[in-house]
């Protein structure tokens, strides 16, 4: 029995690997200084037809930046404060449209009142690429159980684009790719061995953003 437990532990420790690749582009090499009165706002892209940047990922990046004592405006509060100009139908896709929006007195006032200087667009998703194996579960009067073995690969691709709203320009662009394989072992009880692909992508992207804001 201890041998089985050891085997499972070794499997857990070795099997769930994630590869994270970070591509970074900055329009200039120096970091950006954010004063204590200035706020960073995060916003997920939601205009694509087949995916949406999920709230959970945006909140994760926000929490990481907040831990650096930066003022970060939660996404929902930003969208509500500028409603309806950051809805999927109306959100600016480029700087040209953002310049037009910011010229509207009501929108400009709402941004200024909240001290929003930087807007970080987060765009991407986590997808399951490949599934192998199978697991089946059955229940009867005598008991229930699952048997089998299944694996699946997940990939996260996210991009962050930082806009400086003081002069409506692009400050930086960071991209992170993260891949990993998860396992599900059916040994009476289903044992999931999940690879934190999205969480790794969040950490990778946040650490790059941290380097930009000093």
């Amino acid at each position: 029995m201890p041998l089985v437990i050891n085997c499972i532990l070794i499997f857990i420790l070795t099997a769930c690997n994630t590869t994270t690749t970070i591509d970074e582009y900055r329009s200039f090499d120096e970091g950006v200084t954010v004063s204590s009165e200035e706020t960073i706002a995060l916003l997920g892209r939601r205009d694509a037809g087949h995916y949406e940047t999920d709230d959970e990922f945006v909140a994760c990046v926000g929490d990481k930046l907040r831990s650096l004592s930066l003022n970060v405006l939660p996404e929902r509060r930003l969208i509500d404060a500028l409603y309806p100009w950051l809805e999927p139908r109306t959100a600016p896709k480029g700087l040209l449209r953002m310049r037009q929006l910011i010229q509207e007195p009501l929108i400009n006032k709402a941004i200024t009142e909240r001290g929003i200087r930087f807007l970080i667009w987060l765009d991407g998703s986590t997808e399951t690429l490949d599934r192998n194996g199978s697991i089946s579960c059955a229940a009867g009067p005598g008991g229930a159980g699952c048997f089998g073995f299944a694996t699946w690969d997940k990939a996260s691709v996210y991009e962050a684009i930082v806009w400086d709203l003081s002069d409506v320009s692009e400050v930086a662009r960071v991209r992170v790719d993260s891949e990993g394989t998860s396992y599900l072992i059916g040994a009476i009880a289903p044992i999931p061995l999940l690879t934190p692909v999205k969480s790794d992508a969040c950490k990778g992207l946040s650490s790059q953003l941290e380097a930009i804001f000093n």
Binding site: T53, Y83, P84, W85, E87, R89, A139, P141, G143, A144
Partner: protein, 202 residues
Amino acid sequence: MRSQHPVFFITIVCIALIVKGCGGTTQVLSEESFPELLAPSRAFYAVIIFTPEFSNYVARPSSKTSLSIGSAQENIMRKTFSALFDTVDFFDSEEKIEQAPDIIIHPSVVESQIAVPSQNYLNVYEIWIKYNLKLTDVEGNLIDNWFMPVYGKTSDSFMLQKEKAIGSATRAALRDIGAKLSLDFYRIPSVERHLREKSGRS
């Protein structure tokens, strides 16, 4: 009577829950409050007619789904039209109008549609609601019938309960009313023409 093993009862309960989950009707009650709109208002007086049918509307986009969106759609339209016009009154019938407005708007729902992951092969639930805004002047002359489709989808249906996912997509579709009206209402050629004539006369 012979006593049954507890596992037997647990199994029956599990099977009943699975069967209910597969075949039940999804009911979404949307009583959401919406944020105020940031839109420049124009110096016109509008009357919006919310009929009891509109205010209590229950959309049935599929045989297994019903969406109680009446009060939420009234709520978002109240906020939107209040932002778009300097003066707005809301009534449940035209007979209650006392002063002559520049425009009378009668919103109604034409149809609603739903797409679920088993239909669209994506991990998203999608909702479409098609509205008709019947626009008339104070004499009852038709200015236009403007069809306004709004759309919402969930970010990800994975691990979300079906009801929650549809509720989230419905909220997104209702928020789209504010976006669509703010962008397009004053761009409707017949509305633009009618209101230009009104402002020219005053």
